[in-house]
């Protein structure tokens, strides 16, 4: 087996294991390394060969979350169209990563060692900039700070991901639930 083939195989496996771990930990954040391994269909030994330890695994998951968020930000083209439309695209792009995001969002111990803090800061800044743009254009209200709107976006996505995984909501409604509540709120609009 050549070096290239070896590297490629490893990358594929790491990716697959990471996805499985994300799906499992999103449901049960206290899952054991053994459970993570079984969920990925590999042995605990191999899991430890791929990730030095639990910390490394969580860190890798955080890295994956950052990657997916940045990809979503890019794909959503937050600078184009009206701000509400951009928010809708953002949520739609973020939806596949919602479970992972929910896990990372509640894993408050992540910020003890703040290596990857920059990554999240850039993402937060990008989302907050979108809300700020909407405020400056007069589309969004100005009595709620961009920071809080960003936080609320995370919180609603986590709640929606949780509701879907618990069967309390249909997966197809995810984007609608989050976007409509985040943008329009519960109040009925006057037909204008």
């Amino acid at each position: 087996m050549s070096h290239m083939a070896y590297a490629c195989l490893m990358a594929v496996d790491r990716e697959h294991v990471l996805r499985s771990a994300a799906a499992l930990l999103a449901r049960k954040s206290t899952s054991t390394m053994d459970e993570v391994a079984k969920a990925a269909g590999i042995s605990r030994a191999t899991l430890h060969r791929l990730f030095a330890g639990r910390d490394a695994l969580v860190r890798a998951l955080e890295g994956l979350g950052i990657e997916e968020c940045e990809a979503a930000l890019t794909a959503a083209r937050l600078g184009e169209d009206t701000a509400p439309e951009a928010v809708r695209r953002l949520v739609r792009e973020l939806e596949p990563a919602a479970g992972l995001l929910a896990f990372l969002y509640t894993e408050n111990q992540l910020f003890e060692g703040e290596q990857l803090y920059e990554g999240w800061a850039r993402i937060d800044a990008g989302i907050a900039a979108l809300f700020r743009r909407g405020q400056q254009s007069g589309e969004f209200r100005i009595d709620l700070t961009p920071a809080w709107l960003t936080e609320a976006l995370y919180g609603l996505m986590a709640s929606a991901a949780w509701a879907v995984s618990e069967g309390r909501a249909a997966p197809k409604d995810f984007t609608h639930m989050v976007v409509e509540l985040l943008l329009g709120g519960a109040l009925r609009r006057e037909e204008s």
Copy 2:
């Protein structure tokens, strides 16, 4: 020391310890029994005398959360006034318990043994009924289910509690942030 005095002292201590534990676990949900004890200013031995074990402590916290929620539901008089006003009162009454709620909300393992499920079900039903009332009166939009609005209320309160405890938002803005986003959303209203 008489039996009455004994019972009274114990009750007070349990309450205080429970509050401390709630405050600590809201910030770091993996805190050790030793850390919980130190945070409450007692020894681990006494903590174990008050609560049989970690499970019992978490169960007691869940019981406290249910109590506070029910008290808040009662105090908020959800059946009176307009639905939006009732929501505002509800959030205001719920605010002191927000940290505890955030902890319980993310402690998904609670529902493995579903002893206290009834308590939460009653609370959820009460809140959902409020949203349903608002929908029937035409104040709330009907394309978002009462169940999702309830879920979103929890999620936003958790996000806000988290943002406040991290210093990303001012405590005094808590109710405003939650209520305004939940009811009105990010979109600017047309002045009518």
